[in-house]
Symmetry: C2
Subunit: 86 residues, 2 copies
């Protein structure tokens, strides 16, 4: 059974996020003064050909090996067809 | 009242996504042969100082004006403290 997942990767909270800061400033200049903070990250929608029992573990391995730099980034894994898990 | 939202921006389905294709190939070479497709997008976590009645409309305006290139990208807006809406 095919399964779809979303992986979100953000800079760790203690890491500076210059892209987010730039967007915060740009939104302010565009008139969106109510914006106090922006974090800029990446999102990946992944389709797998079958749903194994360990699909969340497999997705976490993809993050560790390729999608996230865990020194400076946190990731979260979310199964899109029901069920959500870190 | 402060409010937090997540904006996700993906290339439109009819647009080529070379970054996603490259990741699909790289995951395959790393042994994740069950991956059939990857779409690579952006994610923004936005904090607003107050929750107006039109917060979703305001967030959509931010996407139209700055965060997404609507010629080639789709966006979705999600309020993080309860409630979700396109």
């Amino acid at each position: 059974m095919a399964v779809k997942a979303r992986i979100t990767v953000y800079p760790r909270p203690e890491i500076l996020d210059p892209q987010g800061k730039a967007i915060t400033g740009a939104l302010g200049r565009l008139g969106f003064g109510q914006v106090t903070d922006v974090r800029a990250g990446k999102s990946f929608e992944i389709e797998l050909s079958k749903k194994g029992r360990n699909v969340e573990k497999v997705l976490a391995q993809m993050c560790e090996q390729l999608l996230a730099n865990t020194l400076i980034e946190d990731y979260s894994v979310e199964l899109l067809d029901g069920g959500a898990k870190k």
